[in-house]
C-alpha cells in the first residue's frame, strides 16, 4: 500500500532557529530520505516553501478566485511530505516515527486511495 506522511510543524519557530540548527535538521532529513531510498520504500518526497508563498484558487459562482495566502491559518503548517510504499500501517507508522519532523511537529499518516 501507499501512504502519505505529511509533516506538520510551526514554521515560524523553524524560521526563528539558528543557521546551525537548521543545518542539523536539514541534514537529518537528508539522511532519513536516503534511508528510505535504500530501503526501497520511497515513492516521492518534497519540502514545501513556507505558507507565506502560498496562493489558493477556487471557483465560486462560476468565477475563478485567486487569493494570496494558505488554505487556512493554523498553528502548525504542512511543511513537507513523503509518499512511501509500505506493506501495512505498522510499517508506515514505523517510518513516520523515524521522521526528524516527528521530534518538533506532527506526522499525519494517510493511506492513498488505490486506483
Amino acid at each position: 500500500m501507499e501512504y502519505m506522511l505529511m509533516i506538520y510543524g510551526d514554521e515560524a519557530a523553524m524560521q526563528g532557529r539558528s543557521q546551525e540548527d537548521i543545518g542539523q535538521v536539514v541534514g537529518a532529513f537528508m539522511a532519513y530520505t536516503e534511508a528510505m531510498k535504500t530501503a526501497g520504500v520511497l515513492v516521492a518526497s518534497g519540502r514545501l516553501r513556507p505558507t507565506s508563498t502560498a496562493t489558493t484558487v477556487r471557483i465560486a459562482d462560476g468565477k475563478t478566485q485567486v487569493l494570496n495566502g494558505p488554505y487556512a491559518e493554523t498553528r502548525e503548517q504542512l511543511g513537507g511530505y513523503y509518499l512511501i510504499e509500505a506493506p501495512d500501517l505498522d510499517a508506515a507508522l514505523s517510518w513516520a516515527s523515524r521522521c526528524p519532523g516527528a521530534a518538533f511537529g506532527t506526522i499525519e499518516v494517510r493511506p492513498i486511495w488505490q486506483m
Binding site: 500500500m1 501512504y3 509500505a86 506493506p87 501495512d88 500501517l89 505498522d90 507508522l93 493511506p111 486511495w113
Partner: protein, 414 residues
C-alpha cells in the same frame, strides 16, 4: 461419515458459536477486511442451515463453513471488479485465499484479530466492542446495551472502525517482542473492559451482563493460553478469576455486601485456587505489572479465608506499587482505604485529602464513600453524612445505594 439431519440446525449453531471468532480471524487476516469476513460467514451459516438438515452435517463442519465463506468472499471480489477496477487488489487477495489449503484444522488466528481490533490507530473506546463482535459474534444491539450506547450509534462506530482497519491497512499480526508489552496492554485493557461491563451487575440480574463477565474470562483464558510467556496476560486472568470467585458473596438477598463483610464460605474456592496458581506462574517470570499487582491485592484480601484477617499492610504496599505504575486516582482512593485500615482513619483521610484536588474524583462514587466511612470512624458524623449524601447521589446500582443510605442512617445523631 455423515450424521443424521435431526440435530443439523443445532450443530450448525453450535459450530458457529464455538468457531465464530476463529473463522472471522482466519478469513479477515487474509483479506484485511473484517466486515467482508463477517458477511461471508453469515452467508455460509445461512447455507449450512439450508443444506445440513437435508444432506446431513458434514464431517468437518468448520472446514465446510470456511470453504463456503471463502467462496462468498471471492464472489464478492469478482462482483466488485465489475463495478470498479479499484477492487482488483481485493480479487488478488481473494484468489490467494482460495489457494490456501483448508486442512482439517483451521489455524487459530484470533490473537492476530484481537491485536488488529486493539491497534493504537483504533479509537480506544471501540476496541472492546470490536473484540466482542469479531471474536464472540455479539451484535451491535447487545454491545450497545452493555456499553450504554444506542445500538445504531454502536453499529456506526463498529462499521467505521472496520473500515479503518481495511483502508488504513492495519495488519493482523502479533507484534514483535520490542513492542508487544505496550500493544498487549491495549488488548488486555479491552478484555478488562468487557469483564468490567459484566461485573458492574454483580447480582447477575441481567443474564446478558453476567454473560459478559464470563466472556471476559474466556477471552483472558484465550490470550493467556496463546501467550503463556506474558506475565500480564496471566495477571489479568488471575484478577478476573478472583473477582468472579466472590460474585455470589457480594449480595445477600439482593443487598450489597462489602468485601470486608463477605462470608468467605461463599467464595468459590476452585476459582480462587486457580487464580492463585495463575498468579504464581506470572510472578515466577519476574516482571511486575499492573494486572499482577491488582490480582495480588485480591489475593491478599482472600487470605482472610484461611487466617481470618485481611492483610491490610500488604495491600497498602501493593497499592503503593500500583500508584507508581498507573498514577491513577482510582488506585489512590483504594490506597487511602488500605491506609485507613492498616494505620488509622485519620491517616486514611490524610491520604484522601492529598488527592482531593483531582477534579476527576468529584464524580467518583468510591471516593465519597471512602471519605464518608473514614470520617464516620474518626467521629465526624456531620461531615460523614455530607460525604454519604454525595456518594448516594453518584451511585447507579440500587443495592449499593440502599447500602450507603443505611450507613448514613446509622451515623450517631449530633
Amino acid at each position: 461419515m455423515r450424521r443424521g439431519s435431526g440435530d443439523a440446525c443445532g450443530t450448525a449453531e453450535a459450530v458457529v458459536r464455538r468457531s465464530y471468532g476463529k473463522l472471522v480471524a482466519f478469513l479477515a487476516s487474509r483479506t484485511g477486511d473484517v466486515a467482508a469476513a463477517e458477511d461471508a460467514l453469515s452467508d455460509a451459516f445461512a447455507a449450512a442451515l439450508a443444506e445440513w438438515p437435508a444432506n446431513g452435517v458434514p464431517e468437518n463442519p468448520e472446514g465446510w463453513l470456511t470453504v463456503v465463506a471463502r467462496r462468498k468472499i471471492i464472489d464478492a471480489g469478482r462482483r466488485r471488479r465489475h463495478v470498479d477496477d479499484a477492487a482488483a487488489p481485493l480479487l488478488l487477495i481473494a484468489e490467494e485465499l482460495e489457494a490456501v489449503n483448508i486442512a482439517a484444522d483451521i489455524p487459530d488466528e484470533r490473537l492476530r484479530l484481537m491485536f488488529a481490533c486493539a491497534h493504537p490507530a483504533i479509537d480506544p473506546a471501540i476496541r472492546a466492542p470490536m473484540i466482542l463482535q469479531t471474536i464472540l459474534g455479539f451484535d451491535a444491539a447487545a454491545i450497545g446495551s452493555a456499553f450504554l450506547v444506542a445500538p445504531a450509534t454502536m453499529g456506526q462506530r463498529l462499521v467505521r472502525a472496520k473500515t479503518k482497519i481495511r483502508e488504513a491497512g492495519i495488519p493482523f499480526r502479533v507484534p514483535e517482542a520490542n513492542e508487544i508489552s505496550e500493544r498487549l496492554d491495549a488488548v488486555l485493557s479491552a478484555i478488562y473492559a468487557v469483564f468490567a461491563e459484566g461485573w458492574s451487575d454483580p447480582a447477575g440480574a441481567e443474564t446478558r451482563q453476567r454473560g459478559l463477565a464470563e466472556e471476559g474470562i474466556w477471552l483472558a483464558r484465550l490470550v493467556a493460553s496463546l501467550l503463556p510467556g506474558e506475565p500480564e496476560a496471566l495477571g489479568l486472568l488471575a484478577l478476573m478469576l478472583h473477582a468472579e470467585a466472590r460474585r455470589d458473596a457480594r449480595r445477600n438477598d439482593g443487598d450489597y455486601v462489602p468485601l470486608a463483610e463477605q462470608d468467605p464460605a461463599l467464595w468459590d474456592a476452585t476459582l480462587i485456587d486457580e487464580a492463585e496458581a495463575v498468579l504464581l506462574r506470572a510472578s515466577a517470570m519476574g516482571i511486575v505489572g499492573r494486572y499482577q499487582l491488582e490480582a495480588a491485592v485480591q489475593s491478599a484480601h482472600v487470605a482472610r479465608r484461611r487466617t481470618g484477617r485481611t492483610e491490610w499492610t500488604a495491600i497498602e504496599r501493593l497499592y503503593d506499587a500500583l500508584l507508581t505504575i498507573t498514577g491513577s486516582p482510582v488506585v489512590a482512593v483504594n490506597r487511602a482505604v488500605a491506609i485507613g485500615e492498616s494505620r488509622s482513619a485519620e491517616a486514611g483521610l490524610a491520604a484522601l485529602d492529598a488527592i482531593a484536588n483531582d477534579t476527576r474524583l468529584a464524580a467518583y462514587q468510591p471516593y465519597w464513600a471512602a471519605r464518608a466511612e473514614l470520617l464516620a470512624r474518626s467521629g465526624d458524623a456531620a461531615a460523614a453524612a455530607l460525604a454519604y449524601h454525595q456518594a448516594i447521589g453518584l451511585e447507579s446500582d440500587p443495592a449499593v445505594r440502599r447500602f450507603l443510605q443505611r450507613r448514613r442512617a446509622a451515623l450517631p445523631v449530633n
